[in-house]
Amino acid sequence: MDFLTLLQVLDTTIRLATPLLLACLAGLFSERAGIFDIGLEGKMLASAFLTAAVAAVTGSVLIGTLAGIGAALMLSGIHGLASITFRGNQLISGVAINFLAAGITVVIAQSWFGQGGRTPQLSGNARFESIDLPFVSEIRDIPVLGPIYAELISGHTLLVYVGLLMVPLTWWVLFRTRFGLRLRAVGENPAAVDTAGISVVGLRFAAVAICGLLTGLAGAYLSTGLQAGFVKDMTAGRGYIALAALIFAKWRPWYALGACLLFGFLQAIALRPDVIEGTLGFEVGVQLLDALPYILTVVILAGFVGRAIPPRAGGEPYVKER
């Protein structure tokens, strides 16, 4: 594999890792606060659809993104209502949200656009455009570093950079602010938070809302950054892979970046069977490559690659006890 091919694969890695990363950090906020969320998939899907749909109608990707975030927030609200207010089963709520999104996106898409459950192709201002970082043309010709900067680091869409910046921001919020301290506490022992006179419900809803915001961005990126429009079930299990990355990352922001890049890389090479054949010297079935992220997730979950301890109060609704 030559240098340029490697750069191409890595470039694809970053683009494919971005929705995973945004969704993974979304899950991180929610689960650190004690709310398990297997509905990341559904929230991304809902946002991907509404972002593309509104962008197609208004011609503005920004308005589209806002609408997409709104859709994800609404589903977050349902999840919060079910798992915080009514102390329901968080897993079941997540499953319901995934189906709700899978169904309603197609029903509405069909009703609005009549194109068999997809939105029209987006172009121009209805998509996120790639951003050239400063000095690209000056640095491009420097050997090694130049192409890395120009091909790999520069030239992505806004949301890619937002995703990357979210990593230090998440770390800072969690470990350096009052909100972060309380958020982590409510995921470990909500009774401690409650008796300290802080609202458990308020904190958890805040976490779920942040989760909605970030999955909204992830979905927006899918349909307007990575691709040019919405198609049925376009998340294709990314929400679940993000969950797996979250477990792999042991609920920590920097590890999450690493895990998402790894999964993004797996998806990237799956797109380039020629590169794999060239590197390994034999052909690898495309189905195996498709299945690889899931297989790897199972291996990780099996704890053969380090044990992960989830937040102690995760998945349990908080009931006051003396």
């Binding site: 350096r176 972060g180 309380r182 300290a196 006179g197």
Partner: protein, 533 residues
């Protein structure tokens, strides 16, 4: 005590949970700068009353006055603002946070964390000096002992400038020495003008430390008296509503052949901490061995090993035959078949399936016995008949086998478990905390059953954190500390003081020991345990 405005005055507080009246028209005045005890049986409504005061529950009726002012306490925030601090029976600490982070949580200064932590660090130093509350601010909660954790809870309250401190059963998890230290802290706080409410069911503590005591019974406040003017028997009668026998009637034991021999038993838990470090005990037929100790020193693990649901190293023989401790025959089913019955410490999480009916629970653990089965199917009619008979013999009320276990009172739930295990006529009965959360009437009944089993020539291993229970039931007493047996004593030749020293890990009990020495010993043991972890 010159101020005549009560620090707290409750007027006509009532609270019902569905059809259960937990608090009925309760009025009480707590004077500032005093330690006020509230005593009552389990379920008397003490904790409910304090939860109302701390804003956890909303009273159905009644008024709360703090320092003479009518105060609404809809939530904990309001209670904190009114100057009330609460130390719950089960600590409300975040296990993987440091002491500092736990103290700061909810009382931060501004949105950034660092200034808050710095300020708390300074304050803790000051508080520690003032009240003998020394503690490492950077230690993680999961690495420090329960005594220390309790101090963190007190510090949390003081950091929030609480003037009124409520402690709910604070000594349940402490050694007598730690309890003494706590009482010294509390007296210090009182002398600085703080008001302290101590909730307990232990008469001894009331007599030792309180200035005033209120007695609760079945949701009602039955009396408030000056501690100096009352006596334990009088308080006991007020609590129960009738005269109680504080002693168990039993004939001297006539031990026979050895039933259980345990040698060098070792358990290492999933975190790698050694929970049992070479236990050796022996119980003979017709004998009750009482195992004393503060909760968390390995008693639970010992019961689990003998009961067949924790693996261990070492040797255990029952009736002279060795028992499998690690292999396929080390499960609870095999243990039952060998004649070991087990009344577990925690009936809600082990002894019963709360959503199962009483009859399903009476077969629990014995559901594979031939008399309960017909081929591949269970013989539900036979199980129901058996359950009805057992419930009648043990006077379980209501005597309805079709009722779910969760619908019985604590005493009746425990009777179901005890009936199931004792009626199997085991060679060895393991019984943990037999009367925890059980009303006095049922306590007497259960104690009688244990003694009756002994008199039939069976061996009994009794684990209890209540020294009174150990002293009155046991024929021999072994004391556990930090996964080891510290010594054995005969009830007639020992007392609470000596057992207390053993429970604190001090074996040369003849010498006089200062509190400082005991403290140092406990600290040393904990440090070594933490290092191993």
């Amino acid at each position: 005590m010159t101020d005549h405005t009560p620090a707290i005055e409750l007027k006509g507080i009532s609270k019902a949970f569905g059809p259960v009246q937990a608090n009925k028209d309760i009025s009480i005045r707590v004077m500032p700068g005093t330690i006020h005890g509230i005593i009552g049986e389990n379920g008397a409504g003490k904790s409910t009353l304090m939860s109302i005061l701390y804003g956890f529950y909303k009273a159905d009726a009644g008024e709360i006055f703090i320092n003479g002012r009518l105060t609404q306490i809809p939530d904990s925030q309001a209670a904190i603002r009114a100057g009330i601090g609460m130390v719950f029976q089960h600590f409300k600490l975040v296990q993987n946070f440091t002491v500092l982070e736990n103290v700061v949580l909810g009382a931060e200064e501004g949105a950034m964390l660092r200034p808050s932590l710095a300020k708390a660090r300074r304050q803790l130093k000051q508080l520690a000096a003032e009240y003998e509350l020394n503690i490492d601010p950077d230690a993680r909660i999961e690495d420090i002992g329960v005594g220390m954790q309790q101090r963190v809870e007190i510090l949390k309250a003081l950091y929030r400038q609480a003037d009124i401190l409520i402690l709910d059963e604070p000594t349940g998890v402490l050694t007598p020495a730690e309890a003494d230290h706590l009482f010294r802290i509390l007296k210090g706080l009182r002398d600085q003008g703080k008001t302290i409410i101590l909730i307990t069911h232990k008469l001894r503590e009331i007599m030792e430390i309180t200035d005033t005591v209120s007695v609760m019974r079945r949701g009602e406040m039955t009396a408030t008296v000056q501690t100096a003017e009352t006596s334990p028997p009088e308080l006991a009668e007020l609590m129960v509503g009738r005269k109680v026998l504080l002693q168990v009637e039993k004939a001297p034991a006539t031990p026979g052949k050895t039933i259980l021999e345990v040698e060098n038993l070792r358990v290492i838990d999933s975190k790698g901490v050694e929970r049992l470090r070479g236990i050796g005990i022996e119980i003979r037929a017709g004998e009750i061995l009482g195992l004393a100790g503060v909760a968390g020193n390995g008693q639970s693990e010992l019961l689990e090993v003998l009961g067949g649901y924790r693996k261990a190293k070492g040797k255990v023989r029952l009736n002279g035959e060795e028992i499998d401790l690690t292999g396929s025959k080390s499960d609870a089913r095999t243990r039952r078949a060998r004649g070991i019955a087990h009344v577990p410490e925690d009936r809600h999480h082990e002894g019963l399936i709360l959503d199962f009916t009483a009859w399903e629970n009476v077969a629990f653990g014995y559901h594979d016995k031939p008399e309960f089965n017909k081929g591949v199917f269970m013989d539900n009619a036979a199980i129901k008949a058996d359950a009805a008979a057992k419930m009648e013999r043990f006077d379980v009320r209501p005597p309805n086998p079709n009722l779910a276990a969760k619908n019985f009172s604590g005493g009746n739930q425990q009777k179901i478990v005890v009936a199931r295990e004792i009626e199997r006529n085991p060679d060895l009965l393991l019984i943990g905390q037999p009367t925890r959360g059980v009303d006095i009437g049922a306590i007497e009944f259960i104690h009688e059953q244990i003694v009756a089993l002994r008199d039939m020539g069976k061996a009994v291993l009794l684990v209890s954190v209540e020294l009174d229970e150990i002293l009155s039931l046991s024929d021999r007493i072994a004391v556990m500390f930090d996964g080891q047996i510290m010594g054995e004593r005969l009830p007639s030749e020992t007392d609470e003081r000596e057992l207390g020293l053993l429970m604190a890990g001090i074996t040369d009990t003849d010498k006089p020991h200062s509190e400082a020495e005991i403290e140092a010993n406990l600290a040393k043991k904990r440090a070594s345990a933490a290092k191993e972890a």
